[in-house]
Symmetry: C2
Subunit: 112 residues, 2 copies
């Protein structure tokens, strides 16, 4: 459970930045080197490496270095636990609002 929580923490934190979401979209269209990504996002190599590292730690991206080139691709983690968390949250919210509606419906006669 703690492991699961740390996993969610990292993934949501990784997704909280527009450049990192952009990198994921870019990698969805094909693998890319760090320098490809840096130039696509008009960013320094150092800045891009930091973003890629955050994505890598969250399991969203994997990288492989061959010679001097580090290639990035989408990682093994495909946001399944995050989607599951959001789905259960949405169900809970819906249940809560349904309960409120039923409560208001039930008590309508009492106030009018």
């Amino acid at each position: 459970m703690v492991q699961y929580s740390v996993h969610l923490d990292r993934a949501f934190a990784a997704l909280s930045d527009p450049t990192r979401r952009g990198i994921l979209s870019r990698l969805g269209r094909g693998d890319a080197s760090i320098s490809d990504l840096a130039s696509s996002f008009d960013m320094t190599l150092t800045g891009m490496k930091k973003h890629v590292q955050v994505l890598e730690e969250a399991g969203l991206v994997t990288t492989e270095k061959v010679g001097r080139v580090r290639t990035c691709r989408l990682g093994p983690e495909r946001l399944a636990p995050e989607v599951a968390w959001m789905r259960s949250y949405a169900e809970m919210v819906e249940a809560r609002f349904n309960w409120l509606e039923r409560f208001l419906e039930r008590t309508k006669g009492e106030t009018s």
Copy 2:
């Protein structure tokens, strides 16, 4: 688009903390005061106020002060844009992996 991006940034950042996810689950079962929440999560009032403020800025929680008590409830934002972003990401990832599979299938004869 920029507005949408800032919105996603805030919501994902708000969700990147286990206490804040816990607060949302707690509020899904019913409204609660800041001090109820602080005691449920074994936290100081000041610490809890900070978490609630992050959730409020992301639109996930609303608060109302009546007298000395500030009551928290689930906010107007029900994670719809985040779910939409994740859904389109999942579709993109699936398309990418399907393409890879088809590519591998197509080129199998060429290498064997």
